[in-house]
Symmetry: C2
Subunit: 403 residues, 2 copies
């Protein structure tokens, strides 16, 4: 008898809704994007019933993973959950010397260390949700393109759940991502090109072979997993009016992190578990691939694809994001901003985070650290904020920042 | 305001006691081993007062790391805790196909995935405890020998807390352990030889330079961190008479995991939070370095040092353990056993765990998986037990089990 068996499991998922045209879709069949306009589908829940069914303080005594929030997640039968212990990541408070270095004498810096997830990145959350739900709806094999960590996570969850995984990755993906995928017995195709080229291959082969495509925002549930990062911030902050930080800094490739957290905060406000205040959302990209930053600066609603994308931060090398309009909306609605940092600044930040915070972060996360320093110097941040930096993955899988 | 600030922090640590001669030592000074006989010191607590101060169900609403059990940990002031989010690791239930493969049709296999700790191994727990307490008692620099992961963890906690770290590691330590240590700005000396040779170097240099030596069981608090693995099993099992598994399988180098968990169970029983029943403790070593297994089979109370230790499981390449008598006591007192597995079986088990469980485990942990299969075939296990395998670290840092 383990402690997760006590309260009755129930998902309050009701339907799927197109984020662009509003068209309603049946949630209890496998769905991809909007059947009318091809845009992103969001899962919707019966929040009035959730509010009557559970009080936020009850979550604490449940299982030690993101599935403790089952009312707000899409899996209907607990037996269908494929879990490796994703979520419930710590908020690591950075010591004073480090915060001073970044210009936050009076403020506070915390790292939400997503590197402590299975397969060492935040990708575990989305793929636990998507693959669990896909299996629940009958899928027996999944496919996706990946710049690295999503492939590792998909392969792990498919193995844990007994599904086949088919991955396409750029040939120059970090070596350890390929190794992981193969240890999990995934079928890996290396592609000359970027994640967008890998994506084309998957979209061509998946329907032909009966694979269910779990590409970012091309199915509705990965972001439900990402949403739990936002719910956790509320629980870690003690729920209520003042539980969220002032600033969230998030390295952004496909953008489900930002999009999922914004959705979480909207649902939590509807539940009256948090107030109206929202953290400013700050998108961080690499100078060599910054389509969202460019669109933000131009005041565009969508982002043009980036040509010749290049950066050491493999997860940021995403030239076009299907959820571009959702990311840009989230940044603008919260008074946030979007910044790009150089590979050189990323490498320096990796060493600085190691030395001052004791966290060996992936380059994507180090980009966020560098961005915080830059935004403080530019005056966008004034140094007394409570800032949460998302450390989206561990540094181990990448070429080391030292000789 | 975060949720860890609510209830009042208090450690009920009273004194240190020699595990061999019983001599009492002052806990509020830096101590190493027994000043009289040189054996291991244990931290002792005022358990009667703990029992009056807290009920086990209260832990659930505290912080998401091992420090939620502060009454039973040695740090007196919460401000001295150096935390990166260690502990609260999941119990991952392995799917039926995998349990059948190992011969457990009726039983249950769970992986306690310690790879989800900071620096990707269980070593984080011990070093968070030891370095926090050392800093509290005035240490400004720490030193230790390491076969790999302890060095990574020590370097990370020292960096997070603003202490200097001095490490000695075998020259052929896994490359990524060295990289991590250097990212955390530790001072690393590579030694020709094994961890025992590295240990000699540290014991020679530490007193000369004023470094505090945090070698395994040569200071009293690393095992207090390890102890939390046992407390967590009780919390994850819902406390009470039947909360613990039937079997604990633990890969054993220096042995603090086994020793710490036994200590946890004794304290929890004294608190009446668990019953008298104990899991059988099974020690797993590698055929190329199995001093505890040999001593167990010979009925010896201590273990002779192993000559020419060699195995791909870097963490098991510990030819002599200062806590040998404590490990052997724990195995015998619980009706457990000790087994050695070959490097070939370890490599196969790594791939099998990946394919069937979705966990890419370090070779040490894969040794445990292999041992469970072997013990089922030998009849020591009869297949209907609830078995918890400790997956002590992630596989990422080691040479991959595939070409």
């Amino acid at each position: 008898m383990t402690h997760d068996s006590r309260p009755a499991w129930r998902s309050y998922l009701t339907h799927l809704e197109c984020t662009a045209c509003g068209l309603r879709h049946d949630a209890d069949q496998l769905q991809t994007v909007c059947t009318a306009c091809g845009k992103v589908l969001f899962a919707r829940y019966d929040l009035n019933s959730v509010r009557q069914a559970v009080m936020p303080r009850e979550f604490a005594s449940r299982r030690w993973d993101m599935w403790r929030y089952w009312e707000l997640l899409p899996v209907r039968d607990a037996a269908n959950v494929i879990s490796l212990g994703e979520g419930l990541t710590p908020l690591v408070r950075v010591r004073k010397e480090a915060t001073r270095k970044l210009g936050f004498e009076r403020g506070q810096l915390e790292l939400k260390d997503e590197g402590l997830n299975p397969t060492a990145s935040f990708k575990a959350r989305g793929l636990s949700a998507a693959i669990s739900r896909a299996r629940e709806l009958g899928a027996r094999s999944i496919a996706l393109p990946s710049a690295g960590n999503a492939g590792s996570a998909a392969a792990a969850y498919a193995a844990a759940g007994g599904l086949e995984a088919h991955l396409a990755m750029p040939r120059d993906v970090p070596e350890l991502n390929r190794v992981e995928a193969e240890v999990y017995a995934a079928d890996v195709t290396l592609v000359d090109g970027l994640i967008s080229d890998a994506g084309r291959l998957i979209r061509e082969q998946a329907p032909r072979n009966g694979w269910f495509d779990v590409s970012t925002l091309r199915e509705p549930y990965r972001q439900e997993g990402k949403k739990t990062m936002g719910i956790e911030l509320a629980e870690q902050g003690g729920w209520g009016e003042a539980c969220l930080p002032d600033i969230i800094v998030y390295p952004t490739g496909g953008g489900t992190g930002i999009v999922g957290m914004r959705k979480a905060f909207d649902e939590l406000e509807a539940l009256t578990w948090i107030g109206r205040a929202r953290p400013k959302m700050i998108v961080v990209q690499a100078e060599g691939c910054a389509p969202i930053v460019r669109a933000f600066q131009q005041g565009a609603r969508m982002a043009e694809p980036w040509q010749n994308a290049q950066t050491i931060a493999a997860g940021l090398r995403v030239p076009a994001a299907i959820g571009d309009y959702l990311i840009l909306d989230a940044v603008r609605a919260t008074g946030g901003t979007a910044v790009a940092v150089s590979d050189e600044a990323i490498r320096e930040a990796q060493l600085e985070m190691g030395r001052l915070a004791g966290v060996y972060a992936a380059p994507e996360a180090a980009a966020s650290w560098a961005a915080v320093g830059a935004l403080r110097r530019s005056g966008f941040l004034d140094g007394d904020e409570r800032v949460v930096l998302f450390c989206t993955g561990m540094g181990l899988k990448y070429p080391p920042p030292i000789p």
